[in-house]
Subunit: 425 residues, 2 copies
């Protein structure tokens, strides 16, 4: 008997008929001989509606972090109870559990708590009694303060993965309205195709590079705890994409699994900053104090007549939403930092090529840069990891760039076979 | 420093502006030098909306009693968190607590749990830290199963009274859109006036006799634990009505505090039932098995030629909603019970006159019956307690009867002084 954790997002439980559909699906999984734990998000727009309500009673409701968590957790409470009611009405046997009841123990950072420990005794009891266990995603509790917490962005996916790890589940299925992981965003590249499987390292790089299908936090948790994931659609029987953490198969890995694009980034360039030891550190301390996570950094070769008046330029990318705040902080420190000028660019895009096979295959960057050059794309910045190459382009050129690269690596669906060099499939 | 428990019903927290108003009021109570615990119901129609949702995913959601309780408790979770957020935004300091966190321990009868114990440690901690403690009404948890429960009808009033008792509060204020306890329903009798105070025994009789202002269950809890109540309006500064449990004042009590009417009753008459020992017991066993609580019972003098074929008539009143079910059960047992005929009457009304002073004053029933006779009201049944006289009339005559009686006991507002014989007010 396998133990499967299934996570259904807000759009999967958006109304009564969808909840009944999910109930049917969950019962089928149990009837196929599995123990089933279901993690649910709040229905559709419930969370946004609750936030609206909070903003209508207070100008800055997040100042009451503990109370906002209490408020927002009502959303999953509603969806989980409704799903359990629907399952029971369809002849199944289920019980719902809050994050606290499910043993999701977290740090005490309200609105963005980290999972510290999972003690799923009540879930195990429910499973042993033959129940389908429904668990509220996105929430937990802090042991010291005995207060309810929420996990922030990606919280429900993370709840599912954390429960799968703690229960030693055979598989963690993440359901949404997308039927798997694609080689690129199909809205940008219609020839993108769905991957049958992908290794967790590549999934992590894709998530970090802007692919929205799985939250990086959940992928990271799965990687660390060796949880296998399956990404699939609530509304089709398609098997979706397996994201494997376990390396039992020793299969050869595709050189390039996919191409991710991200328009949610911006660039700041600091021009004419003295080329002195510790200047870059000063710059990034100011950025960190403005509470932003920077991504790529480039420093050009310093120019100047002699050593004492040599100046450099530093460029870095950061989330678009942080641009104004960080630029303001840097301008405020202009005198101290001693730079000449600061440029902001909100119109950039990041393109990343990811594949575990890069570790053992050379020539990937050559193929990438040739494809971009042939398509007339100007590259502004470059960064690499062991299994990823990212470039920054203008946001206008990003989609063209992605299409050219996708094709160059043989990812277009009519050339699918060439991607999985050596896998024998 | 006094400790005050304030309960606000669903209409008092029905929207954002009302929640902000309640927040202001609660802060004022604290600023006046009190410790404040606030019990809230779900906002306006939230509970009905949640029930609708449940009925849209299952034909009989109440079959999942545990899950319905999980679902419905989301309503208070929302209102309590919003109130805490509003208080904090207005410069107050508050924390919200679920029934479970507030230590409301109950039986495990989902949907209608009884409070077994209250252990308000966290509330006391919050108060000592200078916080206003906001508590979800209507809910608790069962210690053995660790499941969330709801308290059923009158649950939020009962939560407030139970917390007041456990915290040894000085006063429990019940806020609604009504500004106190009246001598009669002002919609029926415009000359009814608000009572400044009333003893808890009389309040209990009024609630039992159909007065809607306080739920009988909360009044009974207050009586048993000696909790003083104040009934007042959320939307005015009127001091409302004190319902005193403590008899410290040794004040003289009004002969008649108020007149209550109840159109939610029906009458069943069983005609021609053998006048044998145990027949009445058989009848009421059938009624009890049909899960109905009867109120008044009258058995007439048996008639018949000789002892062996003497027959009697038995009439009793019961909640209108139970009429069909109970009549059906009795008809089903007709052969066993051996009665001749069963009459149902859905058009009755019950009028009750309540006053603690009846214990020491005679002549109340004489005044009552003369007033009814003068007004041409036909009395169908009569029942009495130590401090109450109730009569059943036709529902058509009920309002006229109430007006006549209200006037006869000097309760009309222009003759108020005569009511409180001996109180010196």
């Amino acid at each position: 008997m396998a133990l499967i954790v299934q996570k259904f997002g807000g759009s999967s439980v958006g109304d009564a008929s969808k909840i009944k559909h999910v109930a049917k699906r969950v019962i089928e999984t149990q009837n196929a001989g599995n123990q089933v734990v279901v993690v649910v998000s709040a229905m559709g727009d419930t969370t946004d509606e609750l936030i609206d309500l909070a903003q209508s009673v207070a100008p800055d409701p997040y100042a009451s972090g503990r109370e906002m968590d209490m408020l927002l957790t009502a959303g999953e409470r509603i969806s989980m109870a409704l799903l359990a009611i629907a399952i029971n009405a369809q002849g199944g046997k289920s019980q719902s559990f809050t994050g606290s009841q499910a043993g999701i123990i977290t740090s005490n950072k309200h609105g963005d708590a980290r999972i510290a420990e999972v003690t799923p005794d009540r879930i195990q009891e429910a499973l042993h009694a033959g129940n389908i266990a429904i668990v509220a995603g996105f929430q937990g509790f802090n042991k010291e303060t005995r207060d309810i917490t929420t996990l922030g962005r990606g919280g429900s996916d993370t709840t599912a993965v954390a429960l799968a790890a703690a229960l030693d589940a055979d598989l963690c299925e993440i359901y949404s309205d997308v039927d798997g992981v694609y080689t690129a965003d199909p809205r940008v590249i219609p020839s993108a195709h769905k991957l049958e499987k992908i290794d967790i390292e590549s999934m992590l790089e894709l998530a970090a590079a802007g692919a929205k299908i799985l939250h990086i936090r959940a992928v990271e948790y799965a990687r660390r705890h060796g949880v296998d994931l399956r990404v699939r659609s609530t509304f089709s029987k398609d098997p979706g994409t397996i994201v494997y953490s376990s390396n039992g198969e020793h299969m050869e890995e595709p050189i390039v699994s996919g191409v991710a694009t991200d328009k949610g980034q911006a660039k700041i360039t600091i021009i004419g900053i003295p080329d002195e030891p510790g200047k870059a550190a000063e710059v990034f301390r100011v950025v960190a104090e403005a509470d932003s996570n920077i991504d790529m950094i480039v420093q050009n070769n310093p120019t100047g007549v002699d050593v004492t008046d040599r100046v450099a330029d530093i460029s870095f990318t950061l989330p678009l939403g942080d641009l104004g705040r960080v630029a303001g902080a840097l301008e405020g420190a202009k005198a101290t930092l001693g730079f000449r000028e600061l440029e902001q660019d909100a119109d950039i895009g990041k393109l990343s090529v990811v594949g575990a096979g890069m570790r053992t295959h050379s020539g990937v960057s050559a193929t990438l840069f040739k494809a971009l050059a042939d398509a007339g794309i100007n590259i502004e910045m470059i960064s690499t990891s062991e299994i990823r190459i990212s470039v920054v382009t203008s946001s206008k050129q990003l989609d063209d760039a992605a299409r050219a690269v996708h094709k160059a690596f043989g990812l277009d669906s009519d050339t699918e076979a060439t991607v999985y060099a050596g896998t024998g499939r």
